[in-house]
């Protein structure tokens, strides 16, 4: 009886990924968390404990901005959950219909914006919606609805919703693809068995397909949550780091950027910036944990 040999090849094969991931993800993450506990006083880095966080949440100057950004972030997320994901599911359901013609074309057309850069999307939509050169006002004019047009990106009450919808337009392809794949994996026999029991058409979707794709919808929700709370690019490219008008489109990402790197005459403060980044990390962590332990473990799964 010899002891099983230590399996070196496992270590060797894991090493590149572990090393790279540690260097570019884990180390910066913990370093950011550590940086949040320091401050700069007279050109010296000083350990201040949780003071940055008490400032962030306790000082009205900071907390107003923080809660404003967090609130905007929740609205941004809500718009995606209410608009992007239902539309994604609906598109997938339509695409998976066996008698739909040009399904492959629609699928690619809807998915293409996802692979575009934020800069292109932001710029293109800014031009489309521009009250001066944009095609949106003239298109509305053509159908006699010019009165409905407003400079949406410049109005406090509409700007964030407009940006959310632009983001929805860009990313609706992702839930669509995931749900589409889940729908395709449902075996024909189950649907046929349902048909024999008299469940066809819409009710087949609600009673058979939807329960079977619920786990995928859960995954999509959590991806949307993480993506939205890390969002930054679209707001930055369209509205700039001050997230105008009057901070109405300010989300945690832009708030963090402005604080960390500074803006115009405002000097960067990496320590407060790290505190905000840590708060973002905590919010996302809590959200993901709530989902994992609160929802996913209770979800019913069906063996197909």
């Amino acid at each position: 009886m010899s002891r099983p040999r230590f399996r070196w090849h496992i270590v060797v094969f894991l090493a590149p990924a572990v090393l790279v991931y540690t260097a570019v993800m884990i180390f910066p993450l913990f370093n950011t968390l550590r940086l949040a506990l320091y401050s700069k006083i007279d050109q010296e880095r000083v350990f201040v404990g949780l003071q940055n966080f008490t400032t962030l949440l306790g000082d009205p100057l900071w907390s107003d901005q923080f809660w404003n950004a967090l609130g905007n972030n929740f609205w941004f997320f809500l718009m995606h959950m209410l608009v992007q994901n239902p539309i994604g599911v609906a598109l997938a359901a339509i695409l998976s219909h066996p008698r739909l013609r040009f399904a492959a074309f629609y699928r690619s057309a809807i998915f293409i914006p996802t692979i575009l850069s934020f800069v292109i999307v932001g710029f293109a939509w800014k031009l489309i919606l521009s009250p001066i050169w944009g095609i949106a006002p003239s298109m509305l004019d053509a159908v006699g609805l010019k009165s409905l047009f407003a400079p949406w990106l410049g109005k406090e009450e509409y700007a964030l919703t407009t940006l959310s919808l632009i983001s929805v337009w860009q990313f609706v392809g992702i839930p669509m693809m995931l749900i589409y794949a889940a729908l395709l994996s449902i075996p024909e026999e189950i649907l046929e068995a349902g048909e024999i029991d008299g469940i066809t058409g819409m009710s087949a979707f609600w009673k058979i397909k939807l329960p079977l794709i619920l786990p995928s919808i859960g995954i999509i929700s959590i991806l949307t949550f993480v993506g939205n709370f890390n969002a930054f690019d679209l707001i930055y490219t369209t509205q700039g780091a001050l997230a105008g008008p009057d901070f109405s489109t300010d989300i945690l990402g832009t708030f963090m950027y402005r604080t960390f790197f500074g803006f115009q005459l405002q000097l960067g403060d990496p320590y407060m910036g790290s505190a905000i980044a840590s708060a973002m990390f905590a919010i996302i962590l809590i959200g993901v944990c709530l989902y994992l332990f609160g929802i996913q473990t209770r979800m019913r799964r069906y063996q197909l």
């Binding site: 100057l61 521009s130 001066i132 410049g154 406090e156 005459l265």
Partner: protein, 417 residues
């Protein structure tokens, strides 16, 4: 034999050229003026390299909005260029305090500049100067001369005339009276509030009193400009709320708008784009006969990275920047950026000349928020952007805006408490 000689000749040329390359020092210049890339490559760099063999220059600009952040990261990482284009006041002062910029006070060339010119790049007590002043920009209004002639409008000198002119343009309907948007916010503050404001707070007098704590942002002279800005809204184009800075520039240069609240830095771009004749007028005074004040803002300086490997060559370049030769090239190649050196520079561009002529008629001042007052949190400059945009849009009253700004300033600035 012949082949050998050829080989020898080739080898020696190769040796010679490589030796020449090894002696050259390349200095890299960090800047936010990506608009000036062509000017540097075609005029400034060749002029310098011709008179200073052995030093090569590389101009590597980044986008204006990203410059400060990018530069700070590069300096911290030690990968920044040898020469650093300096933003005025605190952004550069912080770099000096952090040891990223060298003290240049002992350079003889610094005597070419007045104290006002140097003030933007000095420590608060004036003991150390860390950037060579390059240029200032002047605020005012650029107008479409053809449009004014067509409608028979005289250049306005008082606010009453100014609004009468706007009314007339609006009534006629051919042109948008004024091209400005509030989407980017800074236009409203820089070309709005700080453009017309000095006439209200009497330039340097008010600005210094604010720093000393003798005046407050809730005082009439600081609130009234917001009330005037609020009156601009009906004269701006449809949907000005979502109009960006490039939109405004294009509206004006395409000849669709009659007046453009401007900074003189627009001149070269506008000269290239617009095919109509342009003129400029200074911010109208409140009542006829009032003393006029203009914002003549020190905007660009250039300093030396304290960690540069070639301090001597860098100083040689800085001394050249301080010379009249550079001022003449720069002032004429970039009409609208007015050199700050004591020796006057003969400008050729008529529009730039017009702007520069106001220096003789009016008192000069710099933007009110730049020195000292934007040091704390909340940042007064950024707050002023939001306030000016809100004033134009009419989402808040001028009094409420003044109160909000004063509270923010009093929050951290001792003399205002």
């Amino acid at each position: 034999m012949k082949r050998n000689i050829l080989a020898l000749a080739m080898a020696s040329t190769a040796l010679l050229t490589s030796a020449a390359y090894a002696e050259d020092v390349t200095l890299t210049i960090e800047s936010w003026r990506n608009d000036d890339l062509a000017l540097w490559q075609e005029k400034i760099i060749p002029a310098f390299e011709a008179s200073h063999p052995g030093i090569k220059l590389k101009f590597t600009p980044s986008a204006p909005t990203e410059y400060n952040a990018a530069l700070n990261s590069k300096l911290d990482a030690g990968s920044a260029g040898d020469l650093i284009t300096c933003r005025p006041f605190d952004a550069s002062l912080a770099l000096y305090d952090a040891g990223h910029l060298s003290d240049l006070s002992d350079m003889d060339a610094m005597d070419n500049f007045s104290d006002v010119a140097k003030a933007a790049w000095q420590t608060d007590d004036g003991s150390a100067s860390f950037c060579v002043p390059m240029a200032a920009v002047i605020h005012g209004f650029i107008y479409n001369k053809d449009a004014f002639n067509e409608l028979g409008i005289e250049v306005p000198t008082t606010e009453e005339e100014f609004f009468a002119a706007l009314d007339k343009i609006k009534e006629d309907g051919t042109y948008i009276p004024m091209a400005m948007g509030t989407n980017d916010q800074w236009e409203a503050a820089t070309m709005g509030y700080n453009n017309i404001g000095p006439n209200y707070w009497k330039g340097e007098e008010g600005r210094k009193a604010l720093i000393a704590g003798e005046q407050k942002l809730t005082d009439e002279q600081w609130v009234a400009p917001y009330a005037t800005l609020a009156k601009w809204a009906p004269y701006l184009g449809d949907g000005f709320e979502a109009q960006t800075y490039p939109d405004s520039q294009n509206l004006f240069t395409l000849g669709r708008a009659a007046i453009y609240p401007a900074g003189s830095w627009e001149i070269s771009g506008f000269n290239a784009q617009a095919d109509f004749e342009m003129g400029a007028f200074k911010p109208p005074v409140r009542n006829a006969g009032d003393e006029c004040y203009i914002s003549d803002h020190t905007d660009i300086g250039i300093g030396m990275n304290a960690k540069t490997e070639h301090p001597e060559q860098a100083k040689e370049f800085l001394a050249w920047v301080a010379s009249p030769e550079f001022a003449t090239i720069f002032g004429n190649a970039l009409p609208g950026f007015f050199p700050l050196s004591k020796t006057p520079v003969e400008l050729e561009d008529p529009l730039a000349k017009e702007f520069a002529s106001w220096r003789g008629e009016c008192e000069s001042t710099i933007r009110s928020t730049y020195q000292i007052l934007s040091r704390g949190t909340p940042n007064l400059e950024n707050e002023t952007w939001g306030a000016s945009a809100a004033a134009i849009k009419g989402t808040e009253t001028p009094e409420a805006l003044g109160k909000k700004l004063q509270e923010g300033l009093a929050n951290w600035y001792e003399p205002q408490k």
